[in-house]
Symmetry: C2
Subunit: 206 residues, 2 copies
DNA sequence: AGCAGTCCGGAACGACGGTTCCGTTTTCAT
DNA sequence: ATGAAAACGGAACCGTCGTTCCGGACTGCT
């Protein structure tokens, strides 16, 4: 009796992707990353398809929806950030230095990517859908912050939850700057980080 | 010889607006403010018209374009902020207290207004078009910051230009929160303000 | 009251962009 | 080599939304 190899219910399909399909999938992701980075989430599917030298139909074969495509790219982005966080954790220097290293590298990565800046800044739905891929990032950020608090370099009440808020603000500063305004995202980050440092006055003036 | 009273070339029209027109204009602005505050700049003209109990045609009689309507409301908003800045200037307390008073009151005003948060956060074109109404605000903010720097309450390199960056970040934190996320805009503002204080470390750790 | 001019209402229009559909092409196992 | 399954291309579709248009209602002056 020939038993069919028991592929678990939800698993990679028995048959691997055809060669051209695999190649095109990669081209779509590359093109989408580039076009979205330049024009933001409002870029059209046609534009992405053209940039990938493919028909729109092919895009929809690989991603059922524009939303799905953006989610996939956002998930990649957060995976990259998690990777950066991991590298910072393994890095040298004091805990505070590791923390700021991470923040600056993450900011540099996000800068110049209009779509990801928009997602960071104001796209809670996307953030929800990629929540799964964000856990690794969140965990590592928590570790970075806790260590820097313990070493006395960050204020005692600093928390990993402050980081998304800062990055969210950064996203919109970047997005505004991309349109020719703003006083510089570096300046913004410096202020925000200084607010997190130990020694910053914690009690509101007023 | 009867001389026509020389109304300057660009002036309020000789004939005042008809009573119903004036009434409806006010209703449009009220409804637009409310609908936009709740649903953000993506709210439809139909929705605004319905909320004002008027036909869309009437909207377009008063504002040639959706853009014009949003600009008008944004201009009002900045006028309000300028008013708040003026009140802070006249207020009591140290220069630093006056500055933080203004920031907090401006933040409270922007919070709960999705459209204005979006405009602050990422709508450079709108910001351009209302640039005229923004000069009063900018001037007063500069005065507030300069005084607080002089009194030693803000870091020496603080500048009025930092305020838009902070408010821009705040806009996107608020926008994200409106969708159920975020660690609290108050927390964000506190961090940002602490970064501006005198005594905040000015030299990057790394 | 009557009239001219102003203003209103809301159906219809047109542009835009995401999505679908199906004839054609490519791949791959036999 | 060959046929069937898988993938591609891109014109057409459809829903949405800003905007226009014009017949009808309303104001305000005489």
């Amino acid at each position: 009796m020939t038993t069919i190899p028991a592929t678990s219910v939800i698993d990679t399909p028995a048959r691997p992707m055809r060669a051209d399909a695999r190649r095109n999938r990669a081209r779509i992701l590359d093109a989408a990353r580039a076009v979205l980075a330049e024009h933001g989430v409002d870029a059209g599917m046609d534009e992405i398809a053209r940039s990938a030298d493919l028909g729109v139909g092919t895009l929809y074969r690989h991603f059922p929806t524009k939303e799905a495509l953006i989610d996939a790219i956002a998930a990649d982005h957060f995976a990259e950030l998690a990777e950066l966080a991991g590298r910072a954790l393994d890095g040298s220097g004091s805990p505070g230095e590791r923390f700021t290293d991470f923040i600056w590298s993450a900011a540099r990565r996000t800068r110049g990517d209009a779509a990801m800046a928009q997602v960071m800044a104001a796209n809670a739905q996307v953030l929800d859908r990629v929540a799964g891929t964000k856990v690794a990032l969140t965990e590592r950020v928590d570790l970075l912050v806790q260590a820097a608090v313990a070493s006395g370099e960050l204020r005692a009440d600093a928390s990993g939850a402050d980081v998304p808020a800062i990055m969210c603000g950064l996203g919109s500063v970047v997005a505004t700057e991309a349109l020719g305004h703003g006083a510089g995202w570096e300046r913004y980050l410096t202020l925000a980080l200084d607010g997190l440092r130990y020694g910053a006055p914690n009690v509101p003036l007023a």
